[in-house]
């Protein structure tokens, strides 16, 4: 796994300072969406080999939620964005 994460607020940090909070590419369904849509959102996850988007919380530093784009096969980290900035950029 990627061992160094460059937090946009704190700089280069070891992965031990972070808590991984799961897939960041999912979009929360509408409250009235079907049970199947909610079931998929809550429980169903892919286990990709390659690029993934994940929420990492920097618990040992600024405590912000970050969106980390990394490769599960090569361990390369492509980008680290603040969660709020990511949401703004992607119109969420």
């Amino acid at each position: 796994m990627a061992s160094l994460i460059t937090c946009p607020h704190c700089g280069v940090r070891p992965k031990e300072e972070f808590a991984i909070r799961g897939d960041a590419s999912l979009l929360r369904p509408a409250p009235t969406a079907s049970d199947e849509a909610w079931h998929d959102y809550v429980y169903v996850r892919a286990n990709p080999r390659g690029r993934t988007l994940e929420h990492w919380q920097h618990v040992g530093g600024c405590r912000r939620f970050l969106v980390v784009e990394r490769d599960t096969f090569t361990h390369e980290v492509h980008s680290v964005t603040d969660g709020a900035a990511f949401a703004r950029e992607n119109g969420r």
Binding site: C10, V12, R13, P14, G60, C62, R63, R64
Partner: protein
């Protein structure tokens, strides 16, 4: 029974007894300084940062975007609160941390080697310059780390972790003859 916790430092028991004369590498434990947490209101982050850094009455430590620790050697906790309220009126939330945090001052030629045993940050001056500060883990304890000089660092830790952190730092510094005492 009423106890006066205000006058009892978290490390009183650890530092009881005749102090050794300080060696080259020394850990000074701060007492009687005022510490406050400043949280900028939404949208006021930049204005607050500018106001806080506009004065030399206190030291400002970065914690997170819009969040800082303010350390004052001269003010009382109430005085610091008043000073901050006057400086950034209605832009910031101030929470007094004077009794909730313990301040460790590590200095001496081996400080970087000592800290490298517990902190996963690059502490080379080009990566962590004098005046820089950030939250980090020291071992498993969350601290705010600041570089106050080429070979001088300050760690601010929660009071309830102070004894553990003290033991850890003394173990980390044992091979460098680290001594400890309350700051003068």
């Amino acid at each position: 029974m009423i106890r006066d916790y205000y006058n009892r430092h978290a490390l009183d028991e650890k530092l009881r007894g005749a102090p050794r004369p300080p060696s080259a590498n020394h850990l000074a434990i701060g007492h009687r300084q005022a510490v406050a947490m400043a949280l900028a209101m939404a949208g006021e982050e930049e204005a607050v940062e500018k106001l806080l850094s506009s004065t030399t009455e206190f030291a400002v430590r970065f914690s997170a975007p819009g969040e800082w620790l303010v350390v004052s050697e001269n003010d009382t906790p109430e005085g610091l609160q008043r000073r901050l309220d006057a400086l950034c009126s209605a832009r910031v939330y101030i929470v007094d941390q004077s009794e909730a945090r313990v301040l460790f001052r590590l200095s001496g030629p081996s400080t970087r080697r000592i800290l490298a045993k517990g902190i996963g940050l690059d502490l080379h001056p080009t990566a962590f310059a004098v005046g820089t500060s950030a939250n980090a883990f020291c071992g498993h304890i969350a601290v705010n780390l600041a570089r106050t000089g080429e070979d001088a660092f300050e760690l601010i830790a929660p009071r309830s972790f102070a004894e553990s952190l003290f033991d850890d730092l003394m173990t980390m510094g044992r091979e460098y003859d680290l001594t400890a005492a309350f700051a003068a």
